[in-house]
């Protein structure tokens, strides 16, 4: 589980991509996301995924992105099977299945290279309500904590003779109850404690609190943003006017 979580959770990194302004990273991810929707053939989708893989390698997060891909491949397989059954078109099914992986990877690159603090700043930039921003960022911040909780709970229950890997599907689902209840209860208790601790530190006292971090786009950030837009325009143009597509 911890292995999989590495594909979605931020860890400090020192690549050029990690150091970019979060707004440039967000723009890049959004454009990659849209590009996956524009791709109309498996060949185009492979190009998009190849670009993402190259970007992940440059950002030194390729291994973790590979985990994201491994995880989404399960759902992607399901999408493929359903499409094959209903459309009876292999290429379209492959396209949809690959598109799903590409969509998840495009967002994963942003989340695993952007700290919760940076995420908060980006959300504030869009003038989202402060409580919403705080709730979202706190949820992201607490994912690793909950993962650790889950492991500790599983250890405690396994030490009491619970065998998670044994039995049929129904029994396995039932075996999750001793894991899920303490996890949910702990999360609820923790959120209550966090709310009290925040209020004790004057959360909500000022309508417009000051900010510790203030981002200023550097030349490299603007350069990356411009390059992202240019690449997106090139991809969109190529997909519609250069690369021929045979529709079934």
């Amino acid at each position: 589980m911890m292995w999989l979580s590495g594909g979605f959770i931020f860890r400090k990194g020192y690549s050029f991509y990690h150091r970019l302004d979060p707004r440039a990273k967000l723009l890049n991810s959004v454009l990659m996301f849209v590009t996956t929707l524009l791709a109309r053939s498996v060949f185009e989708m492979v190009l998009v995924v190849a670009f993402m893989v190259g970007l992940s390698a440059a950002a030194t997060v390729l291994k973790r992105v590979a985990r994201t891909m491994a995880f989404t491949a399960l759902f992607s397989g399901f999408i493929f099977v359903v499409n094959v059954l209903f459309t009876r078109d292999l290429e379209t099914s492959v396209l949809y299945a690959t598109r799903f992986i590409a969509i998840v990877v495009s967002t994963s690159i942003f989340f695993i290279t952007t700290s919760p603090d940076e995420l908060e700043q980006v959300m504030k930039m869009f003038r989202l309500p402060r409580d919403v921003v705080f709730a979202f960022v706190t949820a992201v911040r607490f994912i690793p904590v909950m993962m650790l909780d889950t492991i500790q709970i599983m250890d405690a229950q396994k030490s009491r003779g619970l065998e998670l890997e044994k039995g049929n599907l129904v029994r396995r689902v039932r075996n999750m109850i001793p894991i899920l209840i303490p996890l949910v209860v702990n999360s609820v208790v923790r959120s209550g404690e966090l709310a009290e601790a925040m209020e004790a530190r004057a959360y909500g006292a000022a309508p417009r609190p000051t900010s510790l971090l203030a981002y200023r786009a550097r030349r490299v950030d603007i350069g990356v943003a411009c390059a992202s837009v240019a690449l997106f325009a090139l991809a969109a143009y190529s997909f519609y006017f250069v690369i021929p597509v045979q529709f079934p």
Binding site: A156, S159, G161, P178, P182
Partner: protein, 270 residues
């Protein structure tokens, strides 16, 4: 009997939590694992139940290599009360919570009832029999987790920081329970920072630092080694410190408790 043979364990993030640990705990022994945070104490005891498997070396519990047995199989012999009781309580009632492990181990319904009643009485939890374990106080939850472990009568009992959140009376009761387990011939491993709690029980003390065992011996001897304990960031028991101070300087005459406190403050300066 538990035997660690040159055990090394590396966490996923690359941190070496255990570095060539060799340790032998005889059946019926009472051992306290002490050391600073991150010294590898909890990691070491997790190897006894097979929750963690050594990267190199081996751990034998009653002659069984933990790499060849599941945690469920090992936990029949080894009961662990983890540090945070909230990580295990989930049942609707205290009674059901206690019977969880017993049912997992396939005890007969009659035996389950008897063991539950015994555990509730031993830890003074009978009045909460039908209550939700989630509404108990921190100390009560801690006692309940210990009762849950002892209910299936494991040969080895491991207590991870059992005194956290316990008041003085509860600590005394806990010490009594440990004495009872010792008398019953159980092997008891306690992971604790609470030296004042351990000192009166006089366990064999294993001092850990940076994933290694740096000291091992009877508490009466080991607790006198100020340098060793200091290197592992452990304070000496106050009584030992006081005794050593008395040996270093002649006793000053004092007639008032405040004089005595002042004298002790000056004398006990390192």
């Amino acid at each position: 009997m538990i035997e660690f043979r040159d055990v090394t364990f590396v966490h996923q993030n690359g941190v070496k939590a255990l570095d060539g640990v060799s340790l032998r705990v005889e059946a019926g022994e009472f051992v306290a694992l002490v050391g600073e945070n991150g010294a590898g104490k909890t990691t070491l005891v997790k190897h006894v139940t097979g929750l963690l498997k050594p990267a190199s070396g081996s751990v034998l519990v009653d002659g069984v290599d933990t790499r060849e047995a599941s945690t469920a199989q090992l936990s029949r012999k080894v009961g662990v009360a983890f540090q945070n009781p909230d990580h295990q309580l989930f049942s609707e009632t205290v009674e059901e919570e206690m019977s969880f492990a017993l049912r997992n181990f396939g005890f007969s319904p009659e035996l389950v009832r008897n063991r539950v009643a015994w555990g509730l009485e031993l830890f003074g939890l009978e009045e909460y029999r039908r209550s939700s374990p989630l509404v108990l106080s921190g100390g009560e939850k801690k006692r309940l987790t210990l009762a849950c472990i002892l209910a299936w009568d494991p040969q080895v009992v491991i207590l991870d920081e059992p005194t956290v959140g316990q008041d003085a009376i509860q600590k005394e009761r806990l010490a009594g329970t440990i004495q009872m387990l010792k008398s019953a011939g159980k092997t008891v491993l306690v992971v604790s920072h609470d030296i004042e709690f351990l000192w009166p029980i006089q366990p064999r003390v294993v001092v850990m630092k940076g994933g290694r065992v740096v000291g091992d011996g009877p508490s009466a001897d080991l607790m006198q080694d100020r340098d060793l304990l200091g290197s592992a960031r452990i304070a000496q028991p106050q009584l030992v410190e006081f005794y050593q101070a008395l040996h270093r300087r002649p006793v000053a005459p004092f007639v008032h408790a405040l004089d005595a406190a002042r004298w002790a403050g000056e004398t006990l300066q390192p």
